[in-house]
């Protein structure tokens, strides 16, 4: 059953292990098979007396890696190791050459890019010029199988550290969104191998139990039953309220969905024509055959391709091409493939289409059997030509009775508090989506806590998203307060955080009486300003020093009283 190489690795592993170890490996493997908690046997592993130093660094965007790393650090201490825990943006890069044991927990963002906080570290280790010969390391990669570049960053860090001469004492482990069990298992391995002196396994051996992790996400099909642009004529924007009929979708307010956009048919046909490939020609993709036109329209990314891909393309067509993001069509026009066969090679290197995430704007209790979205058409200019984002344009172009496929992206960090808690929601623009879900849910379930909404857009008359619903919630008392900022209705621009400043004392009263604060929508500059404003409110109205305000704010985050869903 196993191929020769795996066979060999396994027997090596088995032979090199005593009984206890075999017992543990047994439990460990079955844990993976049954996706259950890993046996804690490892905790009782006898550790040798001289405490070892380990450095545990994490690169996080939305906090998962931090959470994991912190738990693991605690566990390490229990196993009396001396632990240095640091976020990669705090970590002094020059220290790295001195590390004996370096363990990296890092997630992947964007389409296969490192979290912002890890960028410096990422660049540093790619800049070679130094060796890590006496460093032992292992990487825990957080990711999401619904993305084509699954755990890309983790992989790159893992390879790079090895290149620099560090010894991999435990193979990289790639985690899907339910990362806890894998993280546990990985760290148990780490603890184990730390206790083996000297390093048991020669570096370079990879055991990847879940190397090609399959997406464990359920794919739903939704039928468009409602589709309307919420802006009135004369607005500069397009934001689509989309209602999808989809039964038994398992989600909670705060969750998002992922959608894989379709490439425009016209573009696909253009490409097929240009390359002379026959559109019903079959080609392989993720262990299955698909027609070329299916691949190009539904499965592969063909616009704004990553530099990585450009590189691969150029080596296929044997022409040198500047490494800048480009559309497949332009590539084919400027640097043609020599024939259909060569184009098939290109198909093999094209990345799978990334899903785009959209916050769910409906609530399970209020909108039974439906998923609602609030999708703003992403418009941008590329040298004078205005273009539209692929997925938002695709969703905006849907019409009633069409169907789309999607999966649910759980967001455990963005949940309504207990029904009796007060909630302060800051959601300008499409940020309103999460709060339409929150408020509908609290309305439908009769939650007693108070609700305060901050919303902002450009113009009152044309851009007041969900105005009539918000009015109804206010009149029926579900919404206790609504604060609005329409930036372009007066000479000087006014934004939600300006309104927050005006209401600072009241906001602080809410915070002091235990209110939960949520921010949804644009990451920058919106959420940054909002966060700064909250800090200054704590300073001014809470009469705290800068430091204490920060502490207070951190405290709120720890207690889950400040959460954001920003992008």
């Amino acid at each position: 059953m196993l191929d020769g190489r795996k066979q060999q690795i396994l027997s090596e592993l088995v032979n090199g292990s005593d009984r206890d170890e075999l017992v543990w490996i047994n439990g460990y493997i079955s844990a993976i098979i049954h996706k259950q908690e890993v046996p804690v046997a490892v905790e009782s592993v006898t550790v040798n007396t001289s405490p070892q130093k380990i450095t545990l660094v994490y690169g996080t965007e939305t906090g998962n890696s931090k959470r994991v790393a912190t738990e693991l650090a605690a566990k390490a201490k229990k196993n009396n190791l001396l632990v240095k825990l640091a976020s990669l943006d705090q970590y002094r890069l020059t220290d790295i050459t001195r590390e004996e044991n370096l363990f990296v927990v890092i997630s992947t963002q964007g389409d296969g890019e490192p979290p912002v906080a890890a960028q410096k570290f990422y660049d540093h280790i790619h800049r070679n010029g130094f060796r890590l010969d006496q460093t032992r390391f292992s990487v825990l990669a957080l990711g999401d199988t619904s993305y084509p570049m699954f755990c890309k960053t983790g992989e790159e860090v893992d390879e790079q550290l090895e290149k620099l001469g560090a010894k991999r004492i435990v193979p990289i482990r790639k985690c899907d969104v339910d990362y806890e069990p894998d993280a546990e298992a990985w760290f148990s391995e780490v603890l184990r191998s730390l206790n083996e002196q000297p390093v048991a396994k020669p570096a370079g051996i990879k055991i990847q139990p879940q190397a090609e992790a399959k997406s464990n996400k359920k794919i739903y099909t939704g039928t468009v039953v409602g589709h309307v642009n919420l802006h009135d004529t004369g607005s500069s924007k397009e934001t689509w309220h989309i209602e999808l009929l989809a039964d038994e979708v398992d989600y909670l307010p705060g969750d998002s969905i992922g959608v894989v956009p379709q490439n425009p048919l016209a573009l696909v046909n253009q490409i097929i024509e240009l390359t002379g490939i026959s559109n019903d020609k079959k080609s392989r993709f993720k262990e299955a055959d698909h027609t070329v036109s299916d691949l190009l329209q539904n499965r592969l990314a063909i616009v704004y391709l990553h530099e990585r891909i450009i590189k691969k393309y150029s080596s296929i067509v044997q022409q040198d091409i500047p490494e800048i993001k480009m559309d497949l069509l332009n590539l084919l026009q400027l640097y043609p493939v020599k024939d259909a066969a060569q184009f098939e090679e290109v198909l093999q290197v094209l990345p799978a289409q990334s899903p785009r995430i959209y916050t769910i704007a409906s609530s399970p209790s209020a909108h039974n059997g439906e998923i609602h979205l609030t999708v703003e058409k992403d418009v941008f200019a590329v040298n004078e030509e205005t273009k539209a984002g692929l997925c938002s344009d695709y969703l905006g172009g849907l019409s009633v009775d069409q169907t789309i496929e999607f999966f649910v992206q759980k967001n455990k960090r963005f949940r309504l508090p207990a029904p009796d808690k007060n909630v302060l929601m800051i959601g300008p623009g499409t940020g309103i989506a999460a709060f339409r879900s929150f408020i509908s849910e609290r309305d439908a379930t009769g939650a007693k806590g108070k609700n305060w909404l901050f919303f902002g857009e450009e113009h009152f008359v044309s851009d007041f998203l969900y105005q009539t619903e918000i009015q109804d919630w206010y009149q029926t008392g579900v919404l206790n307060k609504v604060s609005l900022a329409f930036s372009k209705d007066q000479a000087e621009e006014i934004f939600v955080y300006d309104r927050m400043k005006e209401k600072g004392d009241e906001i602080f009263d809410w915070i002091r009486s235990g209110a939960y604060i949520y921010v949804c929508g644009q990451k920058a500059p919106m959420s940054v300003h909002v966060e700064n404003e909250l800090l200054s409110i704590l300073e001014v109205h809470g009469e705290l020093t800068k430091e204490n305000a920060k502490k207070y704010f951190e405290q709120m985050k720890q207690e889950g009283r400040y959460s954001k869903d920003v992008y």
Partner: protein
């Protein structure tokens, strides 16, 4: 039915027309104001409206109705200085749809002012010494006066009465200044005590017009009080007083009907005239129906208690009795277009404004023309009850300059080339702003006239000064009941066709055909014009002929 309509309660609770307007203005969630305040704000000369063309679409978009406000200026006798015209022009551009509407009661309206722009608008008006106090609501409205300086050498003297009466019947409340102009809150409430309106104001709107025979351009008999100037060899002797005019009716409510005012006598001095006017208002205040607004106008009070009783009551209240009415003769109800001079040799030019809508279109740039004229500072502006404008009080030396502007912007060309029938026609606002509209009016009449012109041409009747008026509902804002041919909207695209009214506004028309669309309208007119052209006696008006033919019976 309770003894007081809802509006009555709102008025009394409003603390002299303040209501909760200030709170309504603060509410960021909506472009509307509170229900009760919508009644109160009328007394300040404004109406909450919404664009009815956009209702369905906005509802789908989860946006509330496109609310905005219409503001109506108080212009006794319909007079503006050039400086004031420039102000109106700027305000319209900044805060409204840009179209300046001349109303059938010779004042101006701006539409589409959003809630947050109301205060800036009123402030700007007030800087130009203009206000909108009491141009709507259950109170005396804008006072009309024949606008044609040519009418009489003492036109100015008569004209002066419009302002006097307007002042006499002004409410005492300072709410307007407090709410819109941020003047500090009145402490001594005594200053606001209002012997005329008290806390309840009138049961219904109250309208006054002054006519200078022989032209009845103001439609004097359509008003609650009509004053007919009696002038003997260029001396103002006094006024015949007519009361109980009102045109509105309600479809399917036989208790409601249009009525022309009844002449009850003559007052021979300013003092008596003003006193009589004042006390007629107090009688209506005390005896008008406050339970059913459909029956609340003075005309119903008069018919309920009888003219005799009313005149007696008036005598006891004024302490004098009116003299028997003096002879008077009306022979027209129109505007005299083009250049003319008044007694003092001042020139004035009457320009045709279709349905009173002042704007720039391809060939006639009326809005720009009037601005250019205003900027010369050499002419005043007067508005007529037929929704036209008179560029007036032009010194002989300035006439050519003004005329050049009129030519440059294609105004006099437009006025001269417009057919007689179109010049004598009038339509109300109706869609999209009027909430009561059942059918189109000012947006539709022009195209209907195009077709009627052809019919008239066909029977060589093009020079007949037939008066055609259209309203989008039975309220009769363009006085469609007082027309030779009246169209009263019944449903979208459908109208009751009325004929038989006279040319001078002393006889109302009657329904000839009910609820008909354009095709049937044109068919009917074709038939009628055919007979009219062949059988009319010389100088027999279409209205009189319709009656003689018994097409309708009065």
């Amino acid at each position: 039915m309770s003894d007081k309509s809802a509006i009555e309660k709102i008025k009394e609770a409003s603390v002299h027309l303040r209501g909760t307007l200030k709170e309504s203005l603060k509410d960021e969630l909506t472009g509307a104001i509170r229900e009760d305040d919508q009644a109160v704000i009328k007394f300040h000369g404004m109406y909450q409206q919404d664009d009815r063309d956009r209702r369905e679409e906005r509802a789908e978009k989860k946006l509330e109705r496109l609310y905005s406000f219409m503001i109506r200026l108080r212009l006794p006798g319909g007079f503006l200085t050039p400086e004031q015209w420039i102000a109106v022009y700027d305000i319209a551009g900044e805060h409204s749809t840009g179209v300046i509407k001349i109303t059938s009661r010779q004042t101006l309206q701006l539409h589409g002012i959003i809630k947050s722009d109301i205060k800036p608008t009123i402030k700007a008006f007030s800087e130009a010494k203009l206000d909108s106090i009491a141009t709507c609501g259950d109170i005396n409205r804008n006072v009309l006066c024949s606008s044609h300086p040519k009418q009489s050498p003492i036109h100015e003297e008569v004209f002066g009465y419009a302002d006097k009466i307007s002042q006499l019947l002004m409410p005492k409340t300072k709410a307007y200044y407090e709410i819109w102009l941020d003047e500090e809150i009145l402490v001594d409430k005594k200053e606001e005590e209002d012997p005329l309106y008290q806390e309840r104001y009138l049961p219904r709107k109250f309208k006054i017009a002054i006519a200078i025979p022989p032209n009845n351009d103001v439609d004097v008999f359509a008003n609650d009080i009509g004053l007919i100037a009696v002038i003997e060899n260029d001396v103002l002797k006094g006024f015949n007083i007519a009361i109980g005019g009102g045109l509105s009716s309600t479809h399917g409510n036989p208790e409601t009907y249009p009525r022309l005012a009844t002449v009850i006598g003559f007052a021979d001095s300013e003092e008596k005239t003003l006193k009589a006017v004042y006390e007629i208002a107090t009688i209506q205040r005390d005896y008008g129906n406050r339970a059913d607004r459909k029956l609340a106008r003075l005309k119903y009070t008069l018919d309920k208690y009888g003219v005799e009783w009313f005149v007696k009551e008036l005598e006891t209240r004024t302490g004098f009795s009116l003299e028997p009415a003096k002879e008077f003769v009306f022979n027209s109800r129109k505007d005299f277009f083009g250049w003319d001079t008044n007694a003092d040799g001042l020139f004035y030019y009457t320009a045709f404004v279709e349905n009173g809508r002042i704007l720039d279109d391809q060939n006639t740039k009326l809005k720009s023309a009037l601005l250019a004229i205003a900027k010369t500072g050499k002419a005043n502006f007067r508005f007529t009850c037929n929704q036209n404008v008179i560029i007036s009080d032009v010194l002989p030396g300035a006439k050519d300059a003004i005329d050049d502007i009129l030519t440059e912007y294609g105004i006099n060309g437009h006025t001269e080339n417009t057919s007689v029938i179109r010049k004598n026609s009038m339509a109300c606002v109706a869609f999209p702003t009027c909430p009561l509209a059942l059918a189109e009016a000012q947006r539709y009449l022009p195209s209907l006239i195009d077709k009627i012109e052809l019919l008239l041409g066909k029977y060589s009747l093009s020079e007949e000064e037939i008066i055609i008026r259209m309203t989008g509902c039975p309220n009769g804002c363009a006085r469609s009941y007082a027309a030779e041919i009246g169209f009263v909207g019944t449903a979208y695209g459908k109208y009751n066709m009325h004929i038989g009214g006279d040319r001078i506004g002393e006889r109302l028309n009657k329904i000839y055909k009910e609820n008909i669309g354009e095709e049937e309208i044109l068919q009917s007119l074709d038939g009628l014009f055919n007979i009219y052209s062949s059988q009319k006696q010389t100088s027999e008006t279409f209205g009189d002929f319709s009656l003689r033919q018994k097409w309708v019976t009065i």
